[in-house]
């Protein structure tokens, strides 16, 4: 057959695949294959289309056949895609390796083979192929691919653990480049860079210094960063050289914090050697920079840093520089008008004596010239005032305030906001953040303190009102949005949270780093239509990134950016080990089961399509990573609390603890998912209790034996995990400050009767399957557990209009949603039991009868099919009652009425809101979504949405288990 004809025929298949129209691709390729059934590219394309249509088994058959001898480029390429999607990367190596053997020296094939080895981290094979390539086409890049592959063997491969081997490999890599240098064959910057790296890996620092002077280096790597030299000086402890270099660099750019660090480091190391004259040299140098420079922060901060280090080294900084407090105050006087001043000073407040801190804060406030009767007159004064307030919070001045004082502070801040916004920020661009906003942000923190003191959710609603007012004026202020998001979740208002989240436009890698702020709370929301798209988006990001990230490795080789290779590998691992990723994968599957809304058969089919593999928990718990951006929300919480304990240490502790608890939560949820899936799988297997005679004769039963064991392991591990968690006594992390991480969901889950329900359900299913009459006991246990839930639901007090503590609504709502989840999962499992044992009764009773009777003879503890049916019906009946009860209890979730509209609330603060003014949209298409969530009604709307979805869900379950 003429090649070009085939090519033309396949064109439309390729096009359809490119467009993602896999159905069409399949149809087209079938047509082609009718004419030329052995066309390999066609077969490969068919396999690819099948994979993308979810028909992997069919496609695997084709691929396995093709694997034997694909040889043309396009077939190989299409197969590469197939293997990538099937996650069988090693097969790509196989096919290219076979192809390359047939055409030795084919550059394209060898390149593909090299990249195939890159994808599976097979550094040794990479090296071999790269050398083959170099032999075929003596180009520098191939030579360096080989060298890099050797370096990776030394640093990351199996040999990296063996110091000697690793040493030998590195020195080999070095010699390979030495050779090129000698022959004057170096061609590119990246090559030089790699050489320097190899020297560094071998700790040949002197050699690096020498090499930096050579012509090769200066010619090919003129942009070699000075940081290389600096690091080497540090490694070699060449403090004098470092000091001189840093000094030189600082004279050129006196605002470089990194150079100051290096400078001070070298000075203090020299001082340690006994050279005390350095103190004065250092101080004079910094003082000169201060004198010379106009208003750069660098030298001033360096002076503070020097003070700190002197004190750490038990030298007497006061006699040299005077009082620390004065230095800080000086800094504030000069830079207080900069937004970052507070962040700068924050680093140094710790060194201020405890008893001086609050006094210092008052001094700053005084210095701004603003008091209870005066207002900022210009933007500089405004920013200074704000800074002093933030510092006063940092110094702990707000810790001990009474309720009245906090209230007064809040009012003052809101009024300051109102005044400053009208005075200074009226002409704000919609893309800018107003300076005056900082008052409002601080006010939100203060109000949270107050809410905690009074344990009243009402105060948080007020905060939301005010932040919402701010966002009307200043729609770009993401700090305010983040606080709203946090408060909505604290108050259990998923709809409000969702609206704010939308406005933040979180995407791509942010789905991981910021997922903890919203997505991770969604399993508690009860609004599945909100959470599902976000789960989907999140999972799509991770799976796509995982696949793509292989290509970045290939790219690094292509561009010779060897310095980035290891970083890319680490990054790839960090993404794929993200705790958030695993958590959402599990939650999405649980949600899918909970939301199954067809009849039994449809549900079971959909469940099978989910392809849950209960027997193995593929999550590598020890390798999970914490990718949260925990500093995205600003805070000025006191450095020390009332007991003079470091709040930062506590915050760090909370961060660590929350990660640990969420990891436990993940285990629990994954275990639950696997137990439910295993139960359903078990139900659909042939009966388990077959007497030993049949066992011996029937080979199939051995596999059932295995199933039996596996199921027991899953059930046991669920039971163990639960009892371990009950004993482990995890505490809810502190919610003392507004932007503390919210307590882990773990606490809701462990105090709900998941353990009891699913342990007894798991055992029930097992004994049904074994036809063991112990099933009776477990049927009773399930019913008991249901009664527990029933009591909880009945005892649930309607929210009503009583004052409400901060987390109360969230707690109640979350528990409720947990109950519904439990019932939904039970409905699914029990509907399968019913179909299997009750529906089959009529058909199978005759065929089973023999076995049943023979069993009865052997063993009096067996259960007849009929008895099974009765037990299942009993449990289902109880579940039905429970579901109906839950539905009737939904009204109890009706939230408190929000008394005031925004305007009424603002009026209570003596703010007369401007007419909903149009923010200054620049002539731009960057749309800054204006946010206007009506706090007055949002809680009610959120409730209605929750009720709507939950009651629909409950109705579906009732329908599903509606049996007589």
């Amino acid at each position: 057959m003429d090649n070009s004809v085939n090519e033309r025929r396949l064109r439309s298949v390729f096009d359809a695949i490119d467009l993602g129209n896999n159905k069409k691709a399949l149809q087209e390729v079938e047509k082609v294959l009718k004419k030329t059934p052995n066309l390999k590219t066609g077969l490969a394309l068919k396999a690819l289309a099948l994979i993308r249509l979810g028909r992997e088994t069919e496609s695997q058959i084709i691929i396995d056949e093709l694997e034997k001898n694909p040889d043309d480029d396009s077939t190989l390429q299409v197969m590469t895609y197939c293997y990538r999607e099937l996650d069988q990367l090693d097969k790509i190596c196989t096919i290219y390796s076979n192809a390359a053997k047939k055409q030795p020296g084919n550059e394209e094939l060898l390149t593909q083979l090299f990249m195939a080895h890159v994808r599976v981290n097979d550094y040794k094979s990479q090296q071999a192929v790269a050398l083959q390539l170099f032999k075929a086409k003596p180009k520098n890049p191939y030579y360096f691919w080989a060298i890099m592959s050797i370096v990776l063997q030394a640093l990351r491969g199996p040999d990296s653990k063996d110091k000697e081997k690793s040493k030998v490999l590195l020195s080999l890599a070095q010699r390979m480049i030495d050779k090129l240098i000698k022959e004057d064959k170096i061609e590119a910057e990246q090559e030089v860079q790699l050489y320097i790296n190899i020297l560094e890996y071998q700790e040949k620092y002197e050699d690096v210094l020498n090499f930096l002077q050579t012509n090769v280096c200066t010619n090919f790597f003129p942009s070699a960063p000075i940081s290389i030299k600096i690091e080497i000086f540090k490694k070699l402890k060449k403090w004098n050289d470092l000091m001189l270099l840093a000094k030189e660099l600082l004279e050129e750019d006196p605002d470089r914090w990194d150079y100051y660090q290096d400078y001070l480091l070298s000075c203090f190391e020299l001082i340690k050697t006994g050279d005390n004259s350095i103190i004065n040299i250092c101080f004079n140098f910094i003082s000169e920079l201060i004198k010379a420079s106009t208003k750069v922060r660098g030298p001033y901060l360096a002076r503070l840093e020097m003070f700190k280090r002197m004190r750490d080294n038990k030298l007497d900084p006061e006699s040299l520089m005077g009082e620390y407090e004065v230095l800080l105050l000086d800094y504030f006087r000069i830079f207080g008008n900069k937004k970052c001043c507070v962040n700068d000073l924050k680093l140094f407040l710790e060194y201020l004596d405890t008893d001086r801190r609050s006094q210092f804060a008052s001094k700053l406030l005084q210095d701004t010239g603003i008091n209870s009767t005066s207002l900022p007159q210009n933007k500089d004064q405004l920013q200074k005032h704000i800074c002093s307030l933030q510092i006063s919070r940092l110094c702990g001045s707000q810790l001990s305030l009474s309720v009245e004082h906090l209230q007064a502070l809040y009012s003052a801040l809101t009024l300051h906001y109102e005044h400053s916004f009208s005075a200074f920020d009226k002409d704000l661009l919609s893309t800018d953040i107003a300076t005056s906003d900082q008052y409002a942000i601080l006010a939100a923190h203060v109000m949270y303190d107050l809410a905690i003191k009074l344990n009243s959710s009402e105060r948080l609603v007020e905060t939301l009102q005010f932040l919402n007012y701010l966002l009307r004026n200043s729609p770009s202020n993401f700090h305010a949005k983040l606080l709203c998001l946090q408060i909505f979740h604290i108050l259990g208002c998923p709809l409000g949270a969702h609206k704010i989240y939308d406005a933040l436009d979180v995407k791509h890698v942010q789905l991981d780093s910021m997922g903890y702020l919203h997505c991770a709370h969604l399993p508690l929301s009860g609004i599945n239509t909100l959470s599902k798209p976000i789960y989907d988006q999140t999972l799509k990001f991770f799976t796509a990134s995982y696949k793509d990230s292989l290509e970045y490795l290939a790219m690094s080789y292509k561009f010779g950016s060897f310095s980035k290779l290891q970083e890319f590998m680490d990054f790839r691992e960090k993404l794929s080990n993200s705790l958030h990723y695993s958590m959402i994968s599990v939650e999405a599957l649980l949600q899918e089961i909970v939301c199954l809304n067809g009849n039994h058969q449809q549900n079971y089919l959909q469940f099978q399509n989910m392809r849950i593999e209960p027997n193995e928990d593929r999550i590598k718990y020890e390798e999970l990573t914490d990718n949260r951006d925990l500093n995205v929300m600003l805070r000025w919480d006191p450095i020390y609390d009332e007991k003079q304990e470091s709040v930062y240490d506590k915050i760090k502790e909370i961060e660590k603890e929350s990660f640990i608890q969420d990891t436990e939560l993940l285990q629990l949820r994954s275990s639950l998912l696997r137990l439910v899936a295993a139960s359903v799988d078990l139900i659909h297997l042939p009966y388990g209790n077959i007497n030993s005679n049949t066992k011996e004769h029937n080979g199939h039963n051995t596999s059932i034996e295995g199933v039996d064991e596996n199921y027991k392991i899953i059930l046991e591990s669920w039971i163990e995990l639960n009892s371990r968690l009950k004993k482990s006594n995890y505490q809810r992390t502190s919610s003392q400050f507004l932007v503390n991480l919210l307590p882990s969901r773990l606490h809701y889950i462990i105090q709900l009767p998941y353990d009891k329900v699913f342990t007894s359900l798991g055992k029930f299913v097992y004994n049904l399957w074994m036809s063991n009459d112990k099933a009776k006991v477990f049927a009773k246990d399930i019913q008991d557990a249901f009664i527990e839930i029933k009591n909880s639901l009945e005892n649930l007090k309607p929210i009503g209009d009583n004052p409400q503590s901060i987390f109360e609504y969230r707690d109640i709502q979350s528990n409720f949603i947990g109950f519904v989840e439990i019932m939904s999962l039970c409905s699914f499992v029990l509907s399968n039991c019913y179909e299997k044992y009750n529906q089959n009764q009529s058909q199978s009773s005759s065929s089973k009868k023999k076995k049943q009777t023979s069993n009865v003879n052997d063993n009096t503890n067996t259960l007849s099919l009929k008895e099974k049916g009765v037990l299942i019906l009993d449990v289902i009946k109880e579940l039905k009652n429970l579901l109906s009860l839950a539905e009737s209890c939904l009204v109890k979730l009706k939230p408190q009425r929000i008394e005031k509209t925004l305007n009424e609330y603002l009026a209570s603060l003596s703010i007369i809101p401007k007419e909903s003014k149009k923010v200054n949209q620049p002539d731009s298409t960057t749309t800054v979504l204006s946010i206007d969530i009506d706090i007055h009604t949002i809680f009610d709307e959120s409730y209605h949405q929750t009720v709507k979805e939950l009651s629909l869900l409950i109705k579906d379950k009732l329908k599903l288990i509606n049996v007589k």
């Binding site: 893309t431 990230s549 970045y552 970083e567 960090k574």
Partner: protein
């Protein structure tokens, strides 16, 4: 008060304080990765003494002959660290790298509505070389702004074009 260092992958987990700004786009991973793989020396981040990311610049070198130039793909400074000369520092860094690579000029695209940035670039010596029509999503036009480097002795790269071009016609 800045530390400059090369941008690394892990910075992507922490750059939200910069990227939540409405004029700063968060791109798909592959976009950043491509720059990191291809032009790692052009991707720098400015870090505060506290370790917080204050801003970053991402760029590349491309073009042939007298069109060999540095390009600023993204420049952004966190709202909390603006007006400290940081953008100027980052731009200077990119210009220095481009000088060392013997580029003829540096160029960049900016929304015509982004007055703050346009003024800043002008202060830094850039001129509007030409208008690119409907360059941005939402059909907003872009200015292609340029500044000649030492190698372009006669500043040939900075002679503005009088007619706007379409995005598909930019080389």
């Amino acid at each position: 008060m800045t530390s400059l260092r090369p941008f690394v992958c892990n910075d992507m987990f922490k750059f939200n304080g910069v990227n939540l700004d409405p004029l700063t786009e968060t791109y798909g991973l592959s976009f950043y990765m491509q720059y990191l793989a291809h032009w790692p020396e052009y991707f720098q981040v400015a870090v505060a003494p506290s370790g917080e990311i204050m801003g970053y610049i991402m760029g590349k070198a491309e073009g042939h002959g007298e069109n060999w130039h540095g390009h600023v793909t993204a420049l952004s400074v966190s709202p909390d660290y603006r007006r400290l000369g940081l953008a100027a520092t980052l731009m200077k860094f990119l210009e220095d790298v481009s000088e060392k690579k013997r580029c003829f000029f540096v160029d960049l695209f900016v929304r015509v509505s982004n007055q703050i940035a346009i003024n800043m670039y002008k202060l830094l010596g850039y001129i509007v070389y030409r208008t690119v029509l409907e360059y941005y999503s939402g059909d907003e036009n872009a200015y292609d702004m340029r500044k000649a480097l030492k190698r372009d002795v006669d500043k040939k790269s900075m002679i503005p074009l009088s007619n706007p071009v379409r995005p598909e016609d930019i080389d």
